[in-house]
Amino acid sequence: MKFSIVCALVLAGASMCAFGGQLSNFNPDISLVLDARLAVMNNDSDDYELPGFMLGGEAGLPNQGFSLGHSELSFSSNIDDLYFGKLTIAITEHDGESATEIEEAFIQTLALEEGFTLTAGRFLSGIGYQNAQHAHAQSFSDAPLVYAALFGNSLIEDGVQLSWLAPTELYLQLGVEALSGKRYPSAGGANEGKGAFSGFAKTGGDFNVSHSWQLGLSYFTSDVVGRESGAHSHADEEMAETPSFTGDSDVIGVDLVWKWAPQGNATKQNLVIQSEVFRRKENGLVSMVGSSPLEESSVTSKQLGWYLQVVHQFKPQWKWGARYGRLVSNNSGSNEEVLSEAGLDDEGIAPHRSSLMVQWNHSEFSQVRVQFNQDDSYEDKDSQIFLHYTMSMGAHSAHAY
């Protein structure tokens, strides 16, 4: 069923190509991203954990060996003079089964007064800097640890976003989002599917013709109901017990980006420095679903994560980059044993990871990257190598900041 939808869409696109005759002006714009990798590492993706954090969403290691990433099919267009619309479908494979996921499906106003923009549907939340980037547009082949730990790689939700761009010389954007709270990390749909809210502020500008910057502040709050953590498995136990969290969750974050290109001409050479830090506070109850009698514990957790990365394009087709990310947590509750089973015992470890990458873009549309990770996420330290391609076809991808 899911696949037939995609096929119909692809066919619709194809017929448009045929009928559209010669010009590239399809309506809607169609783009396709192909993505696959080879992962060489010792740790098994099933064993992955981040001590002190309950994993969920898409967090985790890629499969060992050859595997497909997200193949993305995207349609977008101005709907009329008032709305823009976009649909992005990710086609993935989990445990040998193909799955299609609606990554984003939103409409956005083009013509409100006074700098307001309303977005509705499923979209990448405006919090943080990297959250609004699709995985294929990011500079490394895996999400920063803090995004994996707190948002399951990225915060994607259903809801509405209202943003306002100030009519000032200095760039200032303010935004608020009312979200369903049904998806990770809120889960559960508290308050009848209106369980999460976020707010963000971004400012930025040009330091001079060669340097530009952006600074952001973010806040995300949700009433979590039954957020299950799937990644922490106990193969040795007879019956699987799934840790589940219910309670209040508050995240604040700061992000900073600095870009340099000589005379603003990024084609020859450019440098991007970006860093983000998020702090999360949670209060609630952890239970081991499937245990009998039900094991429960109150929990108060303070979790912090950050990363810093530098990416340098040193000649037209070549880039290198380095990234370091680190997490710390302090969780306490009424039953230490339950917390430990739920993965909330930090085991005296502050998970951290160092990454290095080199990337070759033959053209703007093709990209091959090799990335090396020294992964100290948990006690089984690992060295990982990813060989990863990302290719774009169709409509010209947008050069977002």
């Binding site: 005759g21 010009l23 823009f84 603003g264 053209s363 050069h399 900041y401």
Partner: protein, 304 residues
């Protein structure tokens, strides 16, 4: 009493007239220069790119978003030149005045007939513009047409100042027409001259002046030169009478320098657009400079 009302009204008109001075965002320096000719030097006109930036590769960065947010008029090339960033910039600007179809949305390419409309959209041939070559301002005859269309748009946006726009346009077009005649006389000796070009973006200039393009240093549009392609170029021009290698201010001069050393050719670094060198301060100086630099080295040399 009445006279006080009148004074207040006049004052308000005066103040609002001041406030209503159009805020213009141009995508490229040539359109900023053209806008300045038509609205006057003290107006608010900003160019999103400089002559040293490749207009294909720009990001919708914060400062551009805040400019786009406040703009009454957006003047861009169109024809997919800004395809990578302009749609995003417009969408994120939250400014209805500059959206497609609005009065404040002006694409120069929609007012002229483009050359090289291949319709092809296969990127095996590089990042080609299926809708036609967008570097048309390099033939000043195109600017004549666009100036008139822009004047009409300015009047539509700001009818109060219609008289001023018409007067400025008249003055500009007379100056431009006589300059074109002068440039054509000055450039007559370039007719039939052969050049090697870095990127295929000089077609309007070369067609206008009757210059021949022997070879292109980029193997495909948008891809940097490779040593294999360069040696092919070197082979193909051996013994030919070549005036030089044409290069724009924002383009990498590595490949051109290599050919200069190997074939004994001159590298002619043209301003490409307004601001591309110290002297090219407006549209007139741009073409003065371009023709002077092209002619600067009397005649051809045989490539080694």
């Amino acid at each position: 009493m009445k006279s006080i009302y009148l004074m207040v009204c006049l004052l308000l008109v005066g103040v609002s007239g001041q406030l209503q001075a159009l805020s213009i965002l141009a995508c490229e320096p040539e359109w900023k220069a053209l806008a300045l000719e038509l609205v006057g030097e003290d107006s608010s006109v900003y160019s999103a790119t400089t002559a040293f930036q490749d207009p294909h590769h720009i990001q919708a960065r914060p400062s551009l978003l805040s400019r786009a947010r406040r703009a009454d008029l957006l003047i861009c090339t169109g024809a997919e030149l800004e395809a990578g960033w302009l749609p995003l910039l417009m969408r994120k600007s939250a400014n209805k005045r500059i959206q497609v179809g609005a009065k404040g949305h002006f694409l120069a390419a929609q007012h002229v007939e483009l050359q090289d409309v291949s319709g092809a959209f296969d990127r095996q041939n590089g990042d080609v513009h299926g809708g036609g070559d967008p570097h048309f301002f390099l033939d000043p005859n195109y600017i004549v047409v666009i100036a008139k269309a822009l004047m009409e748009r300015l009047i539509l946006l700001d009818p109060v100042n219609e008289g001023e726009y018409i007067a400025r346009h008249n003055e500009f077009s007379i100056r431009l027409s006589s300059a074109i005649k002068r440039w054509e006389v000055e450039g007559a000796s370039l007719k039939g001259a052969s050049f090697v070009v870095h990127h295929n973006n000089w077609q309007y200039l070369t067609r206008w002046l009757g210059i021949k393009t022997l070879a292109t240093l980029e193997p495909k549009p948008g891809l940097p030169s490779t040593s294999r392609h360069l040696s092919k170029v070197l082979q193909s021009i051996k013994g030919e009478a070549v005036w030089g290698v044409l290069l724009g201010s924002y383009q990498d001069d590595k490949a051109a320098s290599w050919l200069r050393d190997k074939a004994g050719l001159r590298v002619v670094k043209l301003p490409y657009t307004v601001g591309g060198n110290a002297k090219a301060n407006d549209l007139f100086a741009l073409f003065d400079q371009t023709i002077a630099l092209l002619k600067g080295y009397s005649g051809a040399k045989n490539a080694r």
